[in-house]
C-alpha cells in the first residue's frame, strides 16, 4: 500500500499567511502552517470558524483572500494545479455520491477517477466490509455505511494528501478504530492528513486552531 507516482508525489504542504473571507466577513487571516509527509494535522475551532473553508481553499475550490497554498514534491515545488489533480483527495460532509446509483457504481467511479486500479477498489471494498452492500442504492445506505464507502474510495485511490471534514462522526466504535488504523497506515506510507474535527483524531496529529486565535 505504498503511495506511488514518484516525483509527482506531494511531500509537503505549505500554507502561508492565508486569509479567507466569506461574504463581507473575514473568517481568519494570516494563518500559516506546514505539513510534511507522514504528518497529520487536525483543524479545530468553533462552529463557523472556517475549518471547512480552509480545507476547500487547500483543495483549490475556494479562492483565498490573501496568502498562498504551496505543494512541494520530492524534487522541489509542484505546480498547484498538477498537485491537486494528482495528489489531493477530499472527504467532505457531502460525500459526492449520487443517491440513485448503486454503491458499486459510485465507488468504482470515484476511486478510479482519483486514480485507483480495479483490484485496489475491490480490495478496499472488502477491507471496509462493503461487499454485501455494493448492490444497494447509495440512497438507502445508513449514514455510517455511506461514510465507509467514501473511506473505501480514499483507500483505493491512495492519493498522498487527504483532506477530511469530520471524518469519523457518523461511524460506530468499531469502525472508528478501523478508520484510525487506515489513517495510521496512510501516514506510515508517507501520506499527509489534514482533518477538520470536533473530537480529536485517533492518530498523533498536530492541532491547528482556526478562527479568532489564528
Amino acid at each position: 500500500m505504498d503511495i506511488e507516482n514518484g516525483s509527482q508525489m506531494i511531500a509537503a504542504l505549505h500554507v502561508s499567511d492565508l486569509s479567507i473571507a466569506r461574504g463581507e466577513r473575514r473568517l481568519f487571516a494570516g494563518l500559516s502552517f506546514a505539513l510534511a509527509a507522514g504528518e497529520a494535522a487536525q483543524l479545530t475551532g468553533a462552529n463557523g470558524a472556517g475549518k471547512t473553508s480552509l480545507l476547500r481553499a487547500v483543495a483549490g475550490l475556494l479562492r483565498p483572500d490573501a496568502g498562498e497554498v504551496l505543494f512541494e514534491g520530492a524534487d522541489g515545488p509542484l505546480d498547484a494545479g498538477t498537485a491537486r489533480s494528482t495528489g489531493v483527495q477530499m472527504l467532505a460532509h457531502q460525500e459526492g455520491f449520487r443517491p440513485g446509483r448503486t454503491a458499486r457504481a459510485e465507488l468504482d467511479f470515484q476511486a478510479r477517477w482519483f486514480g485507483a486500479r480495479a483490484e485496489a477498489v475491490t480490495a478496499a471494498a472488502r477491507r471496509l466490509d462493503l461487499t454485501p452492500l455494493l448492490d444497494l442504492e447509495v440512497r438507502v445506505l445508513s449514514a455510517g455505511q455511506r461514510r465507509r464507502l467514501a473511506l473505501a474510495s480514499l483507500v483505493a485511490a491512495n492519493r498522498p494528501l487527504w483532506l477530511l471534514d469530520e471524518p469519523l462522526a457518523p461511524l460506530d466504535a468499531r469502525r472508528r478504530a478501523q478508520a484510525a488504523g487506515i489513517m495510521a497506515e496512510h501516514l506510515n506510507a508517507g501520506g499527509l492528513i489534514l482533518a477538520a474535527v470536533h473530537d480529536p483524531l485517533p492518530v498523533a496529529a498536530r492541532e491547528i486552531v482556526v478562527g479568532a486565535a489564528a
Binding site: L61, L62, S85, G96, R98
Partner: protein, 221 residues
C-alpha cells in the same frame, strides 16, 4: 484518455438510466408532436406547412428538459468538487459532459425527429435529411445547453433559468435546421442552411468548454 472515458461512461450511465434518458426524451418529443395537431387541428393543409418547424421546436424543447440536471445534481451532492480535483481540467470535464448529453439525448432525438416530422405529414423522402440535420442541431443544443446549465448553477431559479438562457442560443439551430428541411420541402437546396447549422454546432463545441469551465469554477466559490 482513460479518465475521459471513465467520466464519459459515468455521464452516459446517469443520463441513460436516470435523469431523463433517451426513451423519455423521445417519448416526450413524440407526445408533444402528437398533441400538436390535437390543439391546432389535423387537416393536412394546416399541418404540412408547419411540419418541419414544429419538429424543430419540439426537438429544442426535448433537449432542454434534461439539461437542468447536467450539473446541478453534481453541484448539490458535492460530486462537482470531486470532478475539480480529478485528472481532467474542468474544461475537459465540461466537454465530456456535452458529448455524453449529445450521445444520450441528441442522437436518440435525431432518430425520433423524422418520425415526428412524418406524423405531421412531411414527405418521407426527407426523413434522412431531417435526421442528419437533427443530429447536427443536437450537438449545438447540447453544447449551449450545457453552458446554460453551468451558468445557472447555484442560482435559485433552476430549470426555467436554464431554459431562458438557452432559448435564445437555441434559435439559430432551430432556424437553420427547420430552414434546411423546409428548403428541401419546397424543392430548393438544403445545403446553405445545413452549412450554417454545422458551423454553429462546431463553433459551439469549440467555444463553450472555456466559458463552461469558468462558470463551474465560479459556482464552486
Amino acid at each position: 484518455m482513460s479518465a475521459l472515458l471513465l467520466l464519459y461512461r459515468r455521464e452516459l450511465a446517469l443520463l441513460w438510466a436516470g435523469g431523463g434518458g433517451p426513451l423519455l426524451a423521445c417519448g416526450f418529443a413524440l407526445a408533444v408532436t402528437a398533441a400538436l395537431p390535437l390543439a391546432i387541428g389535423s387537416e393536412p393543409v394546416r399541418l404540412v406547412p408547419i411540419a418541419a418547424g414544429a419538429t424543430w421546436i419540439v426537438l429544442a424543447l426535448a433537449s432542454l428538459l434534461s439539461l437542468e440536471r447536467l450539473f446541478e445534481r453534481d453541484h448539490e451532492d458535492g460530486a462537482l468538487d470531486l470532478l475539480a480535483l480529478g485528472p481532467l481540467t474542468l474544461e475537459a470535464a465540461f466537454a465530456v459532459k456535452t458529448a455524453a448529453q449529445w450521445t444520450a439525448v441528441g442522437l436518440p432525438l435525431a432518430l425520433a425527429a423524422p418520425v415526428a416530422a412524418l406524423s405531421l405529414g412531411l414527405d418521407p423522402g426527407l426523413a434522412p435529411l431531417t435526421a442528419g440535420a437533427a443530429a447536427l442541431a443536437g450537438l449545438g443544443f447540447a453544447a449551449v445547453g450545457a453552458l446554460a446549465a453551468a451558468l445557472s448553477l447555484g442560482s435559485k431559479r433552476g430549470g426555467l433559468l436554464v431554459a431562458v438562457i438557452a432559448l435564445p442560443l437555441y434559435a439559430p439551430p432551430v432556424i437553420f435546421g427547420a430552414g434546411a428541411v423546409t428548403a428541401a420541402q419546397q424543392g430548393s437546396a438544403p445545403g446553405p442552411a445545413l452549412a450554417l447549422l454545422a458551423a454553429y454546432a462546431l463553433c459551439a463545441c469549440a467555444l463553450t468548454p472555456f466559458a463552461g469551465g469558468a462558470a463551474i469554477r465560479n459556482a464552486q466559490g
